[in-house]
């Protein structure tokens, strides 16, 4: 009986902990994502018409930057509704 209760309590604690951890890092995750966007635009900006570093840096680094490349393309897609994206990150209905 007591063991069941402890198990349930531990389960509840784990779920609450995961939920709290997830909530706690949402803003930090968004910040990381934004930094990755900045990095992607800095290196791959030439592909969306923004000033870029010397072309050889782009070419050397882009071979390992598919993740950032996709992020940048998705950023272009969400660029039409930047406020909506910001509100959803901050949890504003």
């Amino acid at each position: 009986m007591i063991e069941k209760f402890i198990d349930k309590l531990a389960g509840f604690w784990r779920s609450a902990d995961a939920a709290m951890r997830s909530k706690a890092v949402d803003t930090a995750s968004h910040e990381v994502e934004e930094l990755e966007h900045i990095f992607a635009i800095l290196v791959l900006g030439a592909f969306v018409g923004l000033p870029a570093p010397p072309i050889q840096i782009t070419l050397e680094l882009m071979t390992d930057m598919e993740h950032e490349f996709r992020l940048m393309l998705s950023k272009v897609a969400t660029a039409r509704d930047p406020l909506g994206e910001l509100f959803s990150v901050l949890g504003i209905e």
Binding site: L35, F47, P53, I55, Q56, E60, T63, M65, E66
Partner: protein, 308 residues
């Protein structure tokens, strides 16, 4: 000034278009080879005057002209195409099919990107250094001023960009680690390929810049006695000084007996001065250049202090 024990010694010949950089570098290469040093003359000038001077075709593969002297002609378009093909192949390997497919058209125009030609020259320069076997002396006949200056400043400028990108990358990785640690407890983030690549590139560009600043490298500025040539020579000196490169020697080419070189020696106080007299007849063909060298051997003797 070239050091005593570092092999190979590297000599750049720079200057305004038409002052005779190719001729002077060919004569210096002939002199070096005649002095018993295995010499490779590398034409970095897209105009490729060396083939006209030696009256023979050259290519990327060094061609032996005479004992101890070979000539290589850098084809920047070959290096650009090779580099873009390699990058595209690598992207096809690492990217998903549709991403790589998206980029296909971009690669067709990338070869026209500004800055790619000097990067091609830098890659060819690096390749020349990597393939040195028994050469004692490497002589580079450089492109005219604007391209040569971009070539010399490229490693430094690229290095600045790379260090800034590395800062941002480190910040991203640090924050990613914090997020991962809070979400999942302490965990190993593993290697970041982009960061590793940036560090490799920083190392590579630092080595290239070091090779420009090395004691085994000397930059020779070729000029004529006319005022335009002098004012451009002053600008070249200023530009090179800004990136930490010193001019070792000033070669006054096509000097006539009535020409006064004192204004030049007053400006270039710390540089060695070599005056090469006007040839009279065009210096075309190996025998014409060898004759000129024999007749003016005293002018070239001063190069002996440079070639160790």
């Amino acid at each position: 000034m070239a050091g005593a024990s570092v092999r190979p010694e590297i000599f750049f010949f720079v200057g305004k278009g038409g002052v005779g950089k190719s001729t002077v570098s060919a004569l210096a290469a002939l002199f070096s080879a005649a002095s018993g040093r295995n010499t490779l003359l590398v034409s970095m000038d897209p105009a490729h005057n060396q083939r006209d001077l030696f009256e023979t075709e050259f290519s990327e593969k060094p061609k032996t002209i005479q004992k101890a002297l070979a000539v290589r002609e850098i084809d920047s378009q070959y290096w650009i195409d090779r580099y873009l093909k390699q990058t595209h192949r690598q992207i096809c390997k690492t990217y998903l099919y549709e991403s790589a497919f998206c980029l296909q058209d971009h690669f067709k125009v990338l070869k026209f990107s500004p800055g790619l030609e000097e990067y091609a020259l830098l890659t060819a320069f690096e390749d020349t250094l990597q393939h040195v076997s028994n050469e004692d002396v490497l002589i580079f006949d450089m492109a005219p001023t604007a391209m040569a200056m971009r070539f010399f400043s490229l490693p430094g400028n690229t290095d600045i960009w790379l260090r800034e990108l590395l800062k941002i990358r480190n910040l991203i990785l640090k924050k990613k680690e914090i997020v991962a640690n809070i979400r999942n407890g302490r965990c190993d983030m593993g290697k970041d390929r982009v960061k590793d690549k940036i560090e490799v590139l920083i190392d590579r560009h630092s080595r290239l810049r070091d090779s420009f600043l090395s004691n085994a490298t000397a930059v020779n500025l070729v000029m004529n006695t006319d005022p335009l040539s002098l004012s451009e020579a002053v600008r070249i000196q200023r530009g090179l000084t800004d990136i930490g490169i010193c001019i070792d020697r000033v070669v006054v080419n096509k000097a006539r007996p009535e020409d006064d070189v004192s204004p030049i020696s007053k400006i270039f106080i710390t540089q060695k001065l070599t005056v090469l007299p006007f040839a009279g007849a065009p210096l075309v063909g190996l025998s014409a250049m060898q004759n000129y060298l024999r007749e003016n051997i005293s002018s070239f003797d001063s190069f002996n202090n440079q070639f160790r």
